[in-house]
Symmetry: C2
Subunit: 224 residues, 2 copies
């Protein structure tokens, strides 16, 4: 479990939520782990209240399971839920990139372009850890161009189920190809080419089509 400092202006609740989310995604909190509200509050230097509020939010997406009077537990990886979130992302990303083809203005395109140049810059520098936040920001830019930010927020929270499987197979995905996908998505939006955009989303998703059975054999204790 990695605990970083509270950011300036961040409320206690947001802080607890960020730490929990990051650690669940990175598997610093392993599936099955008990999360005591009191204990976590101590570790974060907070009271139970904001910690509890954060846990409740994560319970809503079933990434944390709460058993009254027994405890909170990081949910085991449920392949059905992973498949469900993968489905959701594919459906949404396709619909939204098509919408972005219609709606993106020059400012949207400029921000995407800048983001991609940064991705390519860090790719050249072999600084892969810098790419994930940019990756996320790039997809957010597409949603924003399509005026679908509320949907992006939903997508982000629920995508934790997917992200955590991706963490287990991180080496299978080549950053170079991902960055290239992003550049092509940008080109598709700039050219208002919906069909190409949709194709790219599918291709992009397929890069994460890791062999789940392989991961499951390697980490059986993580799975439901």
């Amino acid at each position: 479990m990695i605990i970083t400092d509270k950011l300036a202006g961040e409320t206690a609740r947001d802080y607890a939520l960020r730490i929990l989310t990051d650690n669940i995604r990175s598997l610093g909190l392993e599936p099955g782990t008990a999360i005591s509200e009191n204990e976590l509050a101590m570790e974060l230097g907070l009271s139970r209240t904001p910690v509890r509020e954060a846990i409740i939010e994560l319970s809503k997406i079933q990434i944390i399971e709460t058993y009254p009077q027994r405890g909170n537990f990081v949910a085991l990886i449920d392949p059905d839920l992973v498949e469900e979130t993968r489905f959701l992302r594919r459906i949404l990303d396709i619909a939204v990139i098509e919408e972005a083809c219609d709606l993106a203005d020059e400012e949207d395109l400029a921000e995407m372009s800048e983001n991609i140049e940064l991705q390519e810059f860090y790719l050249g520098k072999q600084m892969a850890d810098k790419i994930y936040p940019l990756d996320n920001a790039f997809h957010k830019l597409i949603y924003r161009a399509a005026a679908k930010e509320l949907i992006f927020n939903m997508r982000s929270t629920v995508m934790l189920h997917f992200d955590r499987v991706r963490t287990l197979s991180v080496e299978a995905v080549k950053d170079m190809k991902i960055v290239k996908d992003h550049r092509e998505m940008y080109e598709a939006i700039r050219n208002k080419d919906k069909e190409w955009g949709a194709e790219l989303v599918v291709k992009h998703m397929n890069r994460y089509n890791v062999d789940q059975q392989l991961i499951r054999d390697q980490y059986p204790q993580y799975f439901k």
Copy 2:
């Protein structure tokens, strides 16, 4: 604001969430209304804690706006958010009904059939108020048949933005046509006819294509 009794087995938090959700949907809590955590807790016979937890959840979908040290307010109707949720529902319902065509088994179909017969029964009895819960349950059955229940939960919460506009124009929608749509959706799923299913979803949604400008002129104080 209509307050019904707490259901058996319902936690205080779920109770507060249900009362808030129902009243926001029905406009018993008008857009712009202040919601004091203390006051609502008193009215529900609870403490602030569970009430606050419910409010936080609704803040996540921006149907309640929280201003620290100032108050919580039922958000004004934001046409952009309404459009966004309408978009989301169309996209999801199409993808999910197509999936249901592949996956629905005999039990799923039997439950849908029974639900529709009830809808038709109450339609004949002119008991329109009985139809809304059945309507919701029917769509849930489709999502369940497609193994997309987590997505359905997300859809439900976010759909509040859409529901509240529908409340303002409830007379524009004819129950008879809606029930007929549902029967046809069932037939489409039973016949594994994806194309027809998708068509029906679009047609179904279009029935709620009320003239938003008309509503806006009638209730300007409700809009952003």
